[in-house]
């Protein structure tokens, strides 16, 4: 990743992508109700960084998650470096 790209990622605010616990649970229930299958990912940054570096690491991770899975798949961050992430898939009856 180019350094200019990294700097522009680090300059962004990613708070809008984070869900509260209630929203996260509601999201799962809505998947059940609309018969969507989904993955729940539990992600941990396991380094012991300084706070400043942790914030940078989180920004980079959030950016990559959004880039990979799209903005609709929002994130529930339980504590620093711990993410729970619901990735919505197809409706159950559409699965192979």
């Amino acid at each position: 990743m180019k350094q200019t790209m990294v700097e522009s990622i680090l300059a962004n605010d990613y708070k809008k992508y984070f869900l509260s616990k209630i929203e996260f649970e509601r999201d799962i229930i809505s998947c059940y109700n609309s018969e969507y299958s989904f993955f729940l990912m539990n992600i941990e940054i396991s380094n012991s960084f300084s706070t400043k570096n942790f914030e940078k690491a989180e920004s980079l991770l959030t950016y990559k998650l959004i880039e990979l899975f799209g903005e609709n798949n929002r994130i529930y961050k339980t504590q620093q470096g711990r993410y729970k992430f619901v990735l919505k898939k197809k409706k159950l009856w559409m699965l192979d």
């Binding site: 350094q3 299958s37 993955f39 729940l40 941990e44 991770l61 998650l65 990735l87 159950l92």
Partner: protein
């Protein structure tokens, strides 16, 4: 989209340090994944994802499997036994000698922790060290173990007038413990450990993940008179900059290179480069995992300073070690 593949790619992406304006950012990710086909309760789903995360080993990634529940309960049982083992002093040192490559003379030993239960059954470290690390009880266990080693070292010195250089592994959890340095200072004073004979072995991954903290901790250990050995060298991304900025005395070349040194030319080239680089930086090298004469000859040819492995010596209990190397 194959989610497993995408997540593995994500982990791999961050394995390469990201360069920012004011330095590199190293991100070590662990991911546990659970698929919900059925309407499970949210609590159950989250617990499953946590179990998958807890047991994420291969490439730091795993998908939940029902066996993880069983393993979790086994681990809980082992954890309980570990507290008992600590109280009963069941963690014993085993000593694996290492030799001068040129002369094959004994020059010291690595001390390895073994759990010997009351029924004499030996529990291998891979069964209990990860559990100790996870619940951080390793801090207490290691400190008690280090005290035991210092005591043994001193008793050999006092009784047999022998100063046997010993190297002791220290976990990343321990090195991140705020009280580690003061505890070591206290124990070293108590046993009047002289400077330059005992070595702490630290892993390359600890250094990479915590470069600033590592520099401070290792410098303090050096000030107290301990040597520093960088274990498993060559498996991570430790750079020349890391080596230059840290007070390291010895590079311990990872045994995966040694295992394949006769069959894989690339391994030979890597080992040769590490040895040459180490010598240029006034560092010693230890090649561990040497099992055959052919490997030994090759490593001698490449200029390794010290050799460790089953070809010369296996890890053995204190009594046996004393009979061979001390009396």
């Amino acid at each position: 989209m194959d989610v497993r593949l995408e997540l593995n790619n994500l982990i791999n992406f961050f394995k390469v340090p990201v360069r920012a304006k004011d330095g590199y950012i190293f991100i070590n990710l662990k991911i546990g994944l659970v698929f919900s086909g059925l309407k499970e309760s949210i609590e159950k789903l989250v617990l499953r994802s946590r179990l998958a995360l807890l047991y994420a080993k291969e490439n730091n990634f795993s998908v939940y499997h029902k066996n993880m529940y069983k393993r979790y309960y086994v681990d809980l049982k082992i954890e309980e036994l570990l507290y008992e083992a600590y109280a009963q002093n069941e963690f014993e040192p085993f000593f694996q000698a290492y030799v001068n490559t040129d002369t094959q003379e004994f020059i010291g030993a690595e001390v390895l922790m073994r759990w010997i239960k009351s029924d004499e059954k030996i529990i291998p470290p891979n069964m209990f060290i990860p559990i100790l690390e996870k619940n951080k009880f390793i801090i207490e266990v290691e400190l008690k173990f280090i005290r035991k080693i210092f005591d043994i070292y001193k008793s050999w010195q006092n009784t047999y007038s022998k100063n046997i250089p010993l190297s002791i592994n220290v976990s990343a959890v321990q090195l991140s413990n705020d009280k580690f340095i003061s505890e070591i200072e206290k124990i070293a004073k108590e046993f009047e450990i002289e400077k330059g004979v005992l070595t702490f072995e630290i892993t390359e991954s600890y250094v990479i993940d915590n470069i600033e903290e590592a520099a401070k901790t290792l410098n303090k250990l050096k000030e107290l008179g301990f040597n520093i050995s960088l274990d498993d060298f060559g498996t991570g991304y430790a750079t020349l900059t890391h080596l230059k900025s840290l007070p390291i005395d010895v590079l311990k070349i990872d045994m995966t290179f040694i295992k394949s040194i006769l069959t894989d030319k690339k391994s030979e080239i890597i080992v040769k480069h590490i040895i040459d680089m180490a010598h240029k930086m006034d560092l010693k090298t230890i090649c561990e995992g040497v099992e055959t004469e052919e490997q030994y000859i090759k490593l001698k040819e490449l200029g390794s300073d010290i050799i460790q492995g089953f070809y010369f010596a296996k890890p053995i209990p204190k009594k046996e070690f004393e009979e061979i190397y001390i009396y």
